[in-house]
């Protein structure tokens, strides 16, 4: 196997594509000068020929249409996913505010309940105090109230006399 730069370059070109007429001429000239490389080149060229003759892989006639349909389906699915994501994002954006509102409302209700409870407790205490007072006389005591009041009118103090006496 020769490592001559020209032969190497032309051989590597032949792997990728058919040599041009000028390149073929160069190669023939080189092979004429190096006949020991002829057999090796023949095999290489044979392989190039065989690989070049490999037919294209079978492909459906509607391949492009199917790709475009698949792309459209993907785009529609992505659009639906984005809508759900946006709705969720919107919901999540309101969630903290809703949480704060819930906390404030809860605190308010709790405070109201505590105030109400405190009032009830105070009322209960008042009732307890009153219930400890000894029993009052019955209404019979007030039966002759007007007559007694007329007999012993309450005198108000003679403030003028008191002032003169000072």
């Amino acid at each position: 196997m020769t490592n001559d730069p020209l032969y190497k370059e032309l051989r590597e070109l032949s792997w990728r594509r058919k040599l041009t007429a000028s390149e073929e001429g160069e190669l023939r000239a080189w092979l004429a000068a190096h006949p020991e490389a002829q057999a090796d080149w023949e095999i290489d060229a044979g392989l190039n020929d065989a690989l070049g003759r490999l037919p294209d892989a079978p492909l459906a006639s509607n391949f492009t249409a199917r790709v475009l349909q698949a792309v459209e389906r993907d785009a529609a699915a992505e659009s639906r996913r984005q809508k759900v994501t946006w709705r969720l994002a919107g919901l999540l954006r309101w969630l903290p505010r809703a949480a704060v509102a819930a906390v404030v409302l809860g605190a308010g209700l709790l405070s109201y309940h505590q105030v109400l409870h405190a009032r009830r407790m105070k009322l209960a205490e008042s009732v307890a105090v009153v219930s400890n007072v000894s029993s009052l006389p019955g209404p019979d005591v007030l039966r002759d109230f007007d007559a007694i009041r007329a007999l012993n009118p309450t005198r108000t103090a003679d403030e003028a006399l008191l002032a003169a006496l000072k």
């Binding site: 590597e12 990728r16 199917r66």
Partner: protein, 214 residues
């Protein structure tokens, strides 16, 4: 101030040199017609790569479709840094290798396992290609089958290098970019793969066409 203008000018120059990149930029802007044009142009080359790598026409077609779907999905990230074909075949290579590795993870049958119905025969039988020189009337279809078989037995990286080498629009530099290695490493892969192919296909290869007639 001048740099963005210069960069845009450079990008435009690159686009002028690569018409496929110009199409891809139109795809980026949402033009489905430009995308269809690219698919039409590259569907066969991509399918050829997928078929030679996966050795199954149905799976290869599915994979080829996925390559273009991936191209469309990645359109917004496409930059005119290299030729479109280099980018396209890089996607094809990645999907092919992923599929081959996925298959190898699920492959559990032994190559030496006996056939369940005929215990004296192996489950997997492989044709012995080291035969005597075939007659010159060997049908081309049989040679194609031989090449396909031997090509399929090459290591993945050598097989892919040789298959990409057949894509005339790719230079060795671009093939190296697709494979993710240097140009010299790429040529070495191709050389080693070809040596194996020549050894196994020698009796079937046409020779004598380059001999000087005297």
């Amino acid at each position: 101030m001048a740099f963005p203008v210069f960069a845009k000018l450079l990008a435009n120059m690159s686009v002028e040199l690569d018409p496929d990149a110009a199409l891809m930029l139109r795809v980026k802007q949402g033009e489905s017609g430009a995308f269809a044009e690219l698919v039409d142009k590259y569907k066969q080359p991509v399918m050829n790569v997928a078929y030679r790598m996966l050795r199954d026409a149905t799976e290869a077609e599915d994979l080829a479709q996925n390559v273009f779907i991936q191209v469309h999905k990645s359109a917004q990230r496409y930059e005119v840094a290299s030729k479109f074909s280099t980018w396209l075949f890089t996607i094809a290579r990645n999907l092919c290798l992923n599929e081959i590795r996925r298959r190898s993870r699920h492959l559990t049958s032994s190559l030496d396992a006996p056939h369940p119905d005929h215990e004296d025969q192996p489950l997997h039988q492989f044709e012995d290609i080291k035969t005597a020189s075939p007659p010159e009337s060997l049908l081309h279809g049989e040679l194609e089958a031989k090449i396909t078989q031997v090509l399929g037995e090459l290591p993945e990286n050598q097989r892919l290098a040789i298959v990409l080498c057949r894509q005339e629009e790719l230079s060795y530099e671009e093939i190296a970019k697709v494979l993710g290695c240097s140009v010299s490493a790429t040529k070495s892969l191709i050389h080693r793969g070809r040596e194996t192919l020549k050894e196994k296909l020698k009796p079937y290869l046409r020779t004598g066409q380059w001999q000087d007639s005297k």
